[in-house]
Amino acid sequence: MSNKENPYIPHMAKVEDTWYETHGERAIKTFRVVFEDEEVKESWEHLPGQCAMIGVLGVGESMISISSSPTEGKFLRFSVMRMGKVTQALHQLEPGDSMTVRGPYGNNFPLEEWKGKKILTIGGGIGQAPLRPIVEYVRANINDYQDLTVIYGARTTNDLCFKQELEDLRECQEVSSCHLSIDIEEEGWSHFVGFVPTLLMEVNPSPENTIAITCGPPIMIKFVLENLKKLGFEDEQIYTTLENRMKCGIGKCGRCNAGPLYVCKDGPVFNYATLKQVPEAFA
Amino acid sequence: MVDLETIRKKAKEIVSREDVKHLIGWRKGTFGYRVTPYWVEAPEDAEELVYSPLCNTNLATSLTLAEKLPLPKGQEPDRRKTALLVRGCDSRAVVQLLTERGVDREQVVLLGLPCRGVVDLRKLKDSYPEDNEVADAEWKEDKIVLNVSGEKKEIPREEVLDDHCLVCRYPNPVEADETLGEKVEPWAEESHPGVEELENASFDKRWDFWEKEFERCIRCYACRNACPMCYCEDCILDRLNPTWIYRSNNYSENTAFHIARAFHLVGRCVSCGACERVCPAGIPLGKINQKLVKEVREKYEFEPGTDPEGVPFQASYNPQDQEDFIL
């Protein structure tokens, strides 16, 4: 068996660029990486919502959502919060260094299915990372969709990811709206102050022909779901992505299940109608 | 000793108290000689309590095993007490936990029971094999009486008691709110036969011995989890950053695991033998812990879990402490 057929053998990817989205002990750093092997670079295909196992040899791997859309080019973007051993090691990487990547894993947002619909993303904190490819994908194919609304918030301005991009998005005409918020009042902040679920009610999107996708801390998701229901969204119109501890990424190692669902294979993207049946999904 | 009815009656009384959440004791298991820890929630549950030489779990472990899950905002924690049946070793574990502030004395009700030692099922295995039928056992002076399918067999205790119990010098609770029944005369001298035998062996012999034993370890951590003194929220053996012990199962890492655990138990091990009894691979873990128990007692005259007011051994320092082994 060669390395290439072995799903556990990672590919090497060169870090082309890095920058910090947020600072502090749990800083979020974004990496733009390109596969070193030309063949891998060419054959790699992923869709918004999918993840990859990235890591550093000698330290380990972590499942991280791919935060770039394939429409952006032959590179991958990962936004990584500094948490444990692996993410600490990843944060040490600088342009020119290498990381390991294998994947892509999991299912994707059914963007084909959603054609002709209005797209609403509701993100909080690092939860914007898996939503970002949707935004980019829809922007690239804006003619296929009726509308794009982005709602995003974080605790403070320092916790906001993709700040500049999102500010730019507000200026961008093909997008009907982008709404930003922080939890606590800060000087110089001209947008909404308050929690994301509250902002959602403020924006008051119509459920008609709309798909709502939310990702963020569990507590935020809980209230966003409640509010979406209040706004008249049906379960089938709501999507979210889950994360659980993973080791293999291919449905073998056993740990990422939420009830009968393997997050790595059946997810990470789930329709709320499915998830509702699985009490463990919101544990 | 004490009869079952007295225990059950007292247990009922205790669980009826408003300030008591439940009482932890033992009840019959599902097959053979097995007995399982049992939570008496309501007075009528007490009818299921048993007390016999088959009660081989240290109930003090259940105090530290109780998980503290995050409470929803505004919900008050349940402040009711936990009642526990304690024998010598269970009570020593509680006492050690008290000195380590792992348990608040106000939060536990201890119902003391004298004990004449528990059976080591492994010793029973060959001569009195286990069957589906639930079997019973009782103490009768120096003997253990097995009651299997109505047939009674008397066995001298030396044949079947756990090694730890054979040298136990604390058959009566050292700390309890009330102790039922009559005290038992301790039967053992200060000795550690298993340890002494190994001590007399050459270095190579000892190395070979442990190599063979640790090689077999499957790293299920039953020893750690069954130990009343292993209650760290986050065991350093699980830590990944830094990884003190690799997850790889091999002689070297397994040895590191067992030695680290033994060292974390220095001056803390209460010699209950739970670790050894639960080991599915049959590793004689008692030997390694008892060696340290012996050293601590001989060098520092300290016995864990015997003084509720005492300072934990590892936290006590006396300029006169022996330190000749350092250099």
Binding site: Q92 | L69, G102, C232, V311, P312, A315
Partner: protein, 666 residues
């Protein structure tokens, strides 16, 4: 903090101290290949100004954010280089030192061993440096008061200096009077001025100084806190005499029922006193004290029809109801000047000190020749009718000094000279006496010492080089058995009186003081200074200083000099009014701490306490570090079973890579 480390490595030659055994070029080349290393330089003396300038420039020009200096022990120059970093705008705790001198070049004779080791040490330091984090230095207010423990000449001098500078001083003395050992001496070498004459004015000054609170007959019970903020509990022992009322007339002592029956400690037990006593006539304060161990009333509850002392006291000062009193004071600095004991010659039974009354110690001799002593300065041997002046006096040097068999390997520094002085005094008092000094070497190293030694030899004192091995009795004469090693002649010399020049030892109760103040001892059991050369009056506990013989044997001028030094050091926090607290303190991980309290028990600085926190609705105990008290020693970390408390700059995540770089599995 998550920026990529850019490490600068600076390898010092230390002249030839390092460069002679470590191939610096090779180390530089090696270091340049280490991960994260941006700049590597070497320089003859990194600690010199141009050396430090190199670091400053690189930090600026190369954007360095971690510095490794491979030179000497951090005890030497860590502070120097921290300042360098600070000057260059970098957090000073981004510094790591690799000790390639004491740990490497000085202990390895050749380059083949030293160079690879230096590389490993540098590699380890770089690995740790990459993981360093910035720390903040804090300051807290300091009390502007000091305490001096011990009222001998060292303590008195320290107290006077601090008090003269305008700060309040508490002077604590265990015995009823200040004065200490110096007050017991007759004349002082080599100038032969009267000890009491130069001592008493200082004692009086101490008693009268407005900034000194004299606490005699008192003992320190407990010391808490830290530099600038010590809380000291002092127990004032009951004297059973109201010192406000006592006028020191002495009627009480004259009328005591056990008068002249109790050995007087001040007279090295050669004189006797009453149960109520003034240790010596010039005692300060000149107040009487009841000895609770010998007073009939206090020991037996009965003294005739009633205590006679009470009866005769004109001022009604005697109060048997008096109780010990505990006072608590707050001080910014503490000076330990607890002095010494003399060697007990019973530990050398061959000299027959216990068997023969005419074998005495140097200190006993001191009291016998002193004008204020029990004999009024008359030197007599024998009792009653047989009392006579000794004609043959032998001095034996090095009794209990330079002697591994009694555990005292050090030279006591004063015995040669006090023996010379005492020999001189005897010759003065008994001109026809035959005085012989048996010695191993005469150490006359101080100012005027050699001249004095010359003088006494010319006075006819016989110096025999040879250390006696035995004293025994032959027909009522003491025989000193010795070999004259210069002529290789074994001798058995007769003597009427043998004076043992006993050496100096740490106080018997020194251990208690050490525990109270968390100090250390050197192997000779004297108190350990922070550094034998650079911090000779400081101790391992910040804010606690040493003066006098507590630190090691010394003569009076040295003691006074050290006392003044200790006073000056103690005044630093007092005058600043602020003290820096350790930045490398321990930190608790509340998520994993199980609240067992092992750390609180083992913390030598009492810096950790348990607190109850709300953990998702549950009340749980966790440890909490008082950062003002914590010294970052790491004892807590060693005791913690769940690895939940770690000193900053010495976290596992920092030292594990360091250890790994040394080639040990991580």
């Amino acid at each position: 903090m998550s920026e990529k480390p850019r490490v600068g490595v600076y390898v010092c030659h230390c002249g030839i101290n390092i460069a002679a055994t470590v191939n610096v070029e090779e180390v530089v080349e090696f270091a340049s290949r280490l991960p994260g290393v941006t700049v590597v330089r070497n320089y003859a003396y990194m600690c010199s100004d141009p050396g430090q300038q190199l670091v400053r420039e690189d930090i600026e020009n190369e954007n360095l954010n971690r510095i490794v200096v491979a030179s000497c022990s951090p005890r030497m120059h860590e502070i120097t280089f921290r300042r360098t970093l600070q000057d260059a705008g970098l957090n000073p705790y981004y510094l790591e030192m690799a000790n390639i001198r004491e740990h490497c070049s000085w202990v390895h004779p050749d380059s083949e061993e030293a160079t690879p080791k230096a590389k490993k040490l540098v590699s380890a330091a770089v690995s740790k440096a990459r993981m360093l984090e910035p720390l903040e230095e804090k300051e807290v207010d300091s009390e502007r008061t000091a305490m001096v423990i011990g009222g001998g000449i060292a303590g008195i001098q320290s107290a006077l200096d601090i008090a003269d500078a305008g700060y309040q001083v508490y002077l604590v003395e265990k015995s009823p009077s200040v004065g200490g050992r110096m007050a017991q001496l007759d004349k002082t070498f080599p100038t032969l001025d009267c000890s009491a004459c130069i001592m008493t004015p200082k004692m009086v000054d101490v008693a009268n100084h407005p900034n000194i609170e004299l606490m005699t007959y008192s003992e320190v019970e407990e010391v808490n806190g830290f530099i600038g903020n010590f809380e000291v509990k002092v127990r004032k022992k009951a004297r059973y005499v109201d010192i406000d009322k006592c006028n020191g007339c002495g009627e009480c002592a004259d009328n005591c029922r056990v008068k002249n029956r109790i050995p007087n400690e001040f007279d090295a037990n050669v004189g006797k006193r009453s149960a109520i006593y003034l240790p010596f006539p010039q005692a300060v304060p000149a107040k009487f004290t009841v000895d609770p161990d010998h007073c009939l009333y206090l020991t037996k509850g009965k003294c005739g029809k009633g205590p006679k002392c009470q009866e005769v006291c004109g001022t009604g000062a005697i109060d048997f109801e008096q109780q010990d009193e505990e006072v608590e004071v707050k001080v910014g600095a503490i000076i330990v000047a607890t002095g010494f004991d003399t060697f007990d010659p019973s530990n050398k039974p061959e000299y027959g000190y216990q068997d023969y009354p005419n074998v005495i110690t140097g200190l006993e001799m001191e009291r016998l020749v002193a004008a204020s002593g029990p004999t009024g300065g008359e030197l007599l041997i024998g009792e009653g009718e047989n009392a006579r002046k000794p004609k043959k006096v032998a001095f034996i040097q090095c009794v209990g000094s330079r002697d591994a068999s009694v555990g005292n390997e050090y030279c006591s520094r004063v015995c040669c000279m006090y023996t010379a002085k005492q020999a001189h005094l005897i010759k003065e008092k008994i001109p026809d006496a035959e005085v012989t000094v048996y010695y191993m070497d005469v150490r006359a190293f101080g100012k005027g010492f050699e001249e004095f030694y010359d003088r006494v030899r010319r006075e006819g004192i016989r110096y025999i080089r040879g250390n006696p091995s035995e004293i025994f009795k032959k027909d009522d004469k003491l025989i000193v058995k010795v070999e004259d090693t210069l002529t290789a002649t074994p001798r058995e010399d007769e003597a009427d009186l043998v004076v043992l020049a006993v050496g100096l030892e740490p106080r018997q109760d020194a251990r208690g003081v050490i525990d109270l103040l968390r100090l250390s001892q050197t192997s000779d059991r004297f108190f350990m200074e922070a550094h034998p050369k650079l911090y000779p009056v400081d101790t391992s506990t910040d804010g606690v200083f040493l003066a006098g013989c507590a630190q090691g044997p010394k003569d009076i001028p040295d003691t006074v000099a050290q006392a003044k030094g200790a006073a000056a050091s103690a005044m630093i926090p007092l005058s600043r009014g602020k003290v820096k607290v350790e930045a490398q303190t321990a930190e608790v991980n509340e998520a994993t701490c199980r609240g067992c309290g092992f750390c609180t028990e083992v913390c030598p600085y009492s810096a950790i306490e348990l607190k109850t926190i709300n953990w998702f609705g549950h009340e749980v105990n966790v440890a909490e570090v008082n950062e003002a008290l914590c010294k970052g020693c790491g004892t807590c970390s060693a005791a913690c079973l769940s690895n939940s408390i770690q000193p900053r700059s010495f976290r596992d995540s920092q030292i594990m890579p360091q250890i790994a770089a040394l080639g040990v599995k991580s």
